[in-house]
């Protein structure tokens, strides 16, 4: 049975690229922070596999020409700080003196941390952020390489048989002597036995490969699993339902050690699918360990997808995903929201023809604008500061924003095929860097924030069609802007 599974896993590995679904989420890390007196933006591009080497890029936003600075980077393994290797000096970019880069090796699975230290005449400082080295989904071999390896193996078998026929028959034959029937037979036997041994060797390698692949594929799924339960089944449109989302770990035990992230036990995004027209950003409570409760009044019938961000006390975060099917009912008169920071926004479904809008309705006559370049010029894996501005009904930027869960804004991104979801803050993509973590975090904002803008450091992981929700808080109410963007 185990052998059959291994062979099946191996055969699956030979399927062309694309047959294996991509994992949900955006693996790369983007952070905006201050390393002492230096404002820095950090991009940590994760490797395709672990063990592997991430690349840390550091942008010193205001480095002046000729200012002597040294940027150093090191990785802290899951075993702890005392196992950390020496600092590595990041190399400055020849093209832009504000850019530095350094490798960040991640050799084992688990929660690593990275530290970036900047030192110069104006002082020094260090920032630290978690880096989760997870098991990626193994991808399949390309058909070109599969064919090349199969051909090479065929050539190896054929040439081995030919060599062994000659070796067995002729190796001890003196010049002038003829091959005897016995030596001819010996050559054939050698060729048969040698080829069988080689094919057996190839079989052992394939079997071993299959077991490795099966083990990796088993571990590559989300480490946390969600299960929705409703007090009233079925869930129908327009009717309030009290739902529970039970989150289990890989051993199917209720998840333990959940930490608050921006003051909430969970950030739950629900979107109508397909099209992502209805959007809810909810914050369930946790009545029991691993059980998250929330109210849901589906605006319409159909399928909804959910993405639930959970932060663990270890510092590692995970996104639990799933779907909720809603039966036909009535039109919702009032959306039940449990938490003052919960929000709902309805908008037309994603439409590629309308992609690229730089202004969005934000409710109550207000608008939200994508400024400083807008949605144009976006490229996959190219770090950009996505900046948005909230404007009053007269079109003027508002004077100040209320902090929304401790910061100026939240950005949520969903790819049109639901293969990627990201929850980004002005401080970057790392969860828990505010409030919950013992080290390397900024304080939660509590006072009104001057200005109308929030910016988010981010790079889209791959080309595609995305919906971006921007949420800011003004005069006590949450304003949501919706932008559809194509990343070429």
């Amino acid at each position: 049975m185990r052998a059959a599974r291994a062979v099946l896993a191996f055969l699956l590995a030979l399927l062309p690229v694309g047959a294996v679904s991509a994992h949900v989420g955006s693996p790369h890390i983007y952070i905006e922070d201050n390393a002492g007196p230096f404002p820095v933006t950090v991009a940590c591009e994760m490797p395709p596999a672990v063990p592997g080497e991430a690349t840390v890029q550091v942008l010193l936003d205001d480095r002046k020409s000729g200012e002597a600075v040294e940027v150093r980077v090191r990785e802290i393994p899951p075993a702890g700080d005392d196992r950390a290797p020496e600092w590595v000096i990041a190399k400055p970019s020849a093209a832009d003196p504000r850019f530095f880069s350094a490798p960040l090796p991640l050799m084992v699975y688990g929660l690593w941390h990275a530290e970036v230290s900047v030192a110069g005449p104006r002082g020094s400082g260090t920032i630290r952020f978690p880096v989760a080295a997870r098991v990626p989904v193994p991808y399949a071999m390309s058909s070109g390489l599969s064919i090349a390896l199969a051909l090479l193996t065929t050539v190896l078998v054929a040439s081995l048989a030919s060599i062994l026929i000659g070796l067995g028959r002729d190796a001890d034959r003196r010049t002038g002597d003829s091959a005897t029937p016995e030596s001819v037979r010996r050559g054939r036997v050698w060729a048969f036995v040698g080829s069988a041994i080689f094919l057996g060797f190839v079989g052992v390698i394939l079997y071993f490969w299959g077991t490795v692949h099966a083990a990796r594929a088993t571990r590559s799924g989300p480490s946390l699993i969600g299960q929705i339960e409703a007090d009233s089944v079925p869930i129908v449109a327009g009717r309030h339902s009290a739902l529970k989302l039970s989150v289990y770990d890989a051993r199917h035990q209720p998840v333990r050690g959940v930490a608050q992230d921006h003051g909430k036990m969970m950030h739950l995004v629900i979107a109508k699918w397909p099209g992502a027209s209805d959007f809810l950003h909810l914050h369930p409570t946790m009545p029991d360990e691993g059980v998250f409760a929330f109210s849901f009044t589906p605006p319409s019938a159909g399928r909804y997808v959910y993405f639930a961000d959970v932060l663990l006390q270890s510092g590692e975060g995970d996104t639990v995903t799933g779907t909720i099917d809603v039966g036909p009912g009535e039109t919702a008169r009032e959306m039940a929201l449990d938490d003052p920071d919960d929000s709902f926004a309805g908008s037309p479904p994603m439409d590629a023809a309308r992609a690229g809008n730089s202004v969005s309705d934000a409710g109550g006559g207000m608008t939200m604008a994508w400024v400083d370049g807008g949605p144009a010029r976006l490229r996959p894996l190219e770090l950009a500061k996505l900046t948005f501005e909230l404007r009053d009904p007269s079109g003027r930027p508002v004077e100040r924003l209320d902090p929304y869960m401790g910061m100026a804004g939240h950005m949520l991104i969903l790819r049109d095929d639901a293969t990627m979801f990201a929850h980004v803050h002005p401080t970057g993509t790392v969860a828990g860097r505010m409030g919950a973590m013992p080290r390397g975090h900024a304080a939660m904002m509590t006072e009104p924030i001057d200005g109308a803008r929030a910016s988010f450091p981010y790079a889209f992981p791959k080309a595609g069609f995305y919906r971006v929700w921007i949420q800011m808080k003004y005069a006590g109410s949450i304003r949501t802007g919706v932008f559809d963007v194509k990343v070429p």
């Binding site: 290797p85 030919s162 000659g166 002729d170």
Partner: protein, 389 residues
């Protein structure tokens, strides 16, 4: 050991022997290339292992890999030359075998086959690292293929040197004897792997004794039979030890900075390979046991040879383990518990053999395996004395 062989005729030259390939004084240059290639390969192999343990970081283009690539390129080049010469040039009338449309000595074809297998394994290995991550496991499917290809790589060049020596084309008796001894010594360096992470006690476990019994008696008796001297294996064992000790001392001269996470220990210089097994001891015991039993029934000869090997190999390993794990081993020369943290962390629960029934069974099984291995090694050595193509 039975040494009777009608086919063996020292000094008898093949008809084509007079047209020897122009070579270095006393030895044909392709055989010098064979020694250089196998030497470069074992150096690169040991350097690569040291690199993994000291630096950790590994890509396709690390320096030790270049040493391996150079060895492969050298073997590829001179064997292609031999095949082209044997098919289209002056070697058409010389002894060889036919593989597809080509004509050349079998050893050249075997070596090229090993290079092709190595190339295939490298392609697989590069893809593997992209999918399953950079090296953190020695035992991965592509590494099996690489190790298997390398064993054939040594054997192919050994076969080439054997056929040329037997047909009188390789050079003088003394020089070709040394070519064979050196290549076989490097082959021993390749197959005798002591994973330093298992610690000094690994060599006195039942598993190690039994796995050693698979390959070592075969290798030692093969060279004894081929060169018709019980000292041949002793010389190979000595060269293996000297080469390993030389590399141990050499690697420690160069600074290394750990780069990857699992290299948790603090090292300032490249870690040496593990101290070599005291192979000369079982080589002497095995060689002279076989000689003393000459003329007896094969079952008696190889049964007693297997027992002699198991006993002498275990005794030598016990002495080695005592030295390496004691205060005498904690220095640069033996590199036992030195530097301590580098080894202790990696111990994986090696359980040494003891004075109990399960241990006795393991030793008996090892002796039985060794007896079979002795028989195969002696038979292969006798057959190789007849190889002229």
């Amino acid at each position: 050991m039975t040494t009777s062989s009608a086919a063996y005729a020292p000094g008898r030259r093949d008809a084509a022997a007079d047209r020897a390939i122009p070579g270095v004084r006393g030895v044909a240059w392709p055989l010098v290339a064979a020694v250089a290639s196998t030497c470069c390969m074992i150096f690169g192999w040991n350097w690569d292992i040291s690199w993994h343990r000291s630096v950790g970081r590994d890509t396709v283009w690390t320096l030790p890999h270049f040493a391996v690539y150079i060895a492969l390129a050298l073997a590829f080049a001179y064997n292609v030359w031999i095949v082209l010469r044997g098919t289209f040039g002056a070697g058409r009338d010389e002894p060889g075998i036919r593989v597809f449309a080509f004509h050349a000595p079998a050893g050249a074809f075997v070596t090229l086959w090993a290079v092709l297998l190595q190339f295939t394994a490298i392609l697989f290995d590069i893809w593997w690292h992209g999918v399953y991550g950079l090296d953190n496991a020695v035992f991965s499917p592509p590494h099996y293929a690489l190790a298997g290809a390398l064993a054939v790589f040594y054997f192919g060049q050994f076969l080439l040197a054997t056929s040329w020596r037997n047909s009188g084309r390789g050079g003088s008796d003394v020089s070709t004897r040394w070519v064979l001894l050196l290549i076989w010594s490097f082959f021993l360096c390749h197959i005798v792997m002591v994973d330093p992470c298992f610690g000094p006690l690994a060599t006195v476990t039942g598993t190690y004794l039994m796995s050693g019994a698979v390959v070592l008696p075969f290798s030692l008796l093969l060279i004894d039979e081929l060169l018709e001297s019980p000292w041949a294996a002793v010389i190979c064992g000595a060269v293996y030890m000297i080469a390993t000790i030389a590399q141990m001392q050499f690697f420690q001269l160069f600074p290394a900075t750990p780069k990857f996470g699992p290299v948790f220990h603090r090292v300032t210089h490249f870690l040496p390979p593990a101290f070599p097994l005291l192979l000369v001891i079982p080589a002497v015991v095995l060689g002279f046991t076989a000689r003393a039993l000459r003329g007896k029934r094969p079952g008696v000869v190889y049964g007693l040879c297997g027992l002699a090997f198991a006993a002498s190999f275990l005794a030598a390993n016990v002495v080695l383990a005592l030295i390496l794990s004691g205060p005498l081993g904690a220095n640069r020369f033996f590199a036992g518990n030195y530097p301590g943290s580098a080894f202790i962390e990696g111990y994986r629960g090696s359980v040494p053999l003891g004075f109990d029934a399960p241990s006795a069974v393991r030793v008996a099984v090892a002796a039985a395996i060794a007896a079979s291995s002795c028989w195969m090694g002696a038979a292969t050595g006798r057959w190789m004395r007849t190889v002229v193509r």
